[in-house]
Amino acid sequence: MIVAAVNAGSVDQVFVLAKHALLARTPDALQPLASAIISIIPLLVVFPSLFAITTVLERKGLGRMQNRLGPNRVGPFGLLQPAADGIKALIKEDVVPAAADQLVHFFAPVIFVAAAFVAYAVLPIGRNMVLVNLNAGVLFFFAVGSVVELSVFMAGWSSRSKYSLLGAMRAIAQMISYEVPLVLASVPAIMQAGSLSTVDIVNAQAGYTGIWPHWYLFTPWGIVGFGLFLIAATAESNRSPFDLPEGESEIIAGYFIEYSGFKFALFFLAEYLGMFATSALGITLFLGGWSAPLGISLFTVVPSYIWFFAKLLGFICFFIWIRGTLPRLRMDQLMGFAWKFILPMALLNIFVTGLWRFLPASPLNSIRWIVCAAVLAAPCVVLSMSLKQKKKLLIRTYHFAE
């Protein structure tokens, strides 16, 4: 690590070097603990602040899209709005329904936030800037993600409210349905990189041919995989147009209706953190993580973490834009889309990745390109056709909410 730090640009590695400097001053007995704390603290600082920024950004962006100003009272251009919100959440009364299951009701947001934070452990936010480099990193990420569902259920169930229960059920059904395509969509990258470790995946995309980076995005399966991943991620993080779990119009706010005050804020935070994490994973898998978009010195000198956060912001803007643009789906559309379009396409994509891998690269790259693109395009068209056709809708009955 030291070596890597040395031969990398100093600006790029400033945080790493700082960490090492701090560790050098701590007694050896405490070093593991210290290094852990030192690496965790920034995460705990950076991402919540990013969350704060995002809230403002989202509200203002949506406001603009809807021909209004958005928050503009607190501070310059309403930039202090998140602070006001945080204070409000903190001083608000924490209402717990009388019938609620106290313990679970309390633990649900905690676990949620904890899981959301833990997910960041394997995300490289810069060169040599990853908390732990597990060689099953991606698996870890998904494992932690699966814990989120449980916390959602706890929240919805413990508040003993039909709406929250309905919201929880919707959320879980949706998350499970989209977790499968999410994983399957990320498999090609893992295949190509030959490793589950996020760091290795990023490193595999680090090089450049000419000025073009080796991002997986720039392969046919990469494009498709990225698209699928993006859709699945949107749904996984309950963002519009997949925000049925908190459909304000039908079930007021989904599984955390009965939460108020700081717990509510925690849910809010956790959701955004989850969104960030998923986006970060997408960046890691397809957008070359922290690597620069073009192999020119002007870009490469820019520190890696800058690039990472730039891409992340891009994701955030994309999400905001989508939210402002698209209407909400119906439940059956949601499910049908997951099981009838994304899943087959993801499977096909895996196959195509194998194809890509075993087709000869050097002489006729273009032919490889065309073949894989064709193999992917045809079913895509067919499946979207099949999605279009009208189907008779049955009355949906929730058997668990009787």
């Binding site: 060689n135 698996l139 699966s146 449980l150 059920m169 499970i176 439940m331 059956d332 499910m335 668990f400």
Partner: protein, 173 residues
């Protein structure tokens, strides 16, 4: 015999014991997830990273959710809440006996003298596991895949009520 092991073991035992002992079925399942998490921790502690994460993913992410859904769907407010069956004393006694005999056997199996040197955890990367799965254990892998497919379809078919709408099956998943 490190502290980590003891803590994880405590979590696991507590969680599972609660899962088997609590009154509310949902609490049971939640406690069970805690127990499984502890178990996954143990796997990690024992150096089986992949298995640990798989454990979390499968049990916490899938089985627990499934169980919770099942509990919700089969929740029948009308029926009296008697959690233990009539002969629960016998059951407990037998379980205790089983544990005692097993423990006795284990104790006897290890002579008090031998203290195996704490060998460093073997570094098993995912690549190795993948190679093993793809070469040596490819046939079991295929069979497992087949089994999972069959189980998926079978579960859907069984759980689907012909009267109900087909969207029920996603929930049952």
């Amino acid at each position: 015999m490190t502290a980590t092991f003891l803590i994880l073991a405590a979590i696991t035992v507590a969680g599972t014991a609660a899962a088997m002992g609590l009154r509310n079925a949902v609490h049971c399942v939640l406690a069970l997830t805690a127990g499984f998490a502890g178990l996954a921790g143990l796997y990690l502690y024992l150096g089986a990273q992949f298995v640990g994460f798989t454990q979390i993913m499968v049990y916490v992410g899938a089985v627990a959710i499934l169980a919770v859904f099942a509990v919700m769907m089969t929740h029948n407010p009308g029926e009296p809440e008697e959690i233990f069956s009539r002969f629960w004393v016998w059951g407990a006694v037998i379980a205790g006996a089983v544990f005692l005999t097993l423990a006795r056997a284990i104790r006897l199996a290890f002579a008090p003298a031998d203290a195996t040197p704490a060998t460093p955890a073997p570094s098993t990367t995912v690549q190795q596991i993948g190679d093993a799965l793809m070469h040596r254990y490819v046939l079991p892998l295929e069979i497992i895949g087949l089994l999972l497919t069959a189980a998926l379809i079978g579960a859907v078919i069984i759980a689907m009520d012909p009267k109900d709408d087909p969207t029920l099956e996603e929930d049952a998943e």
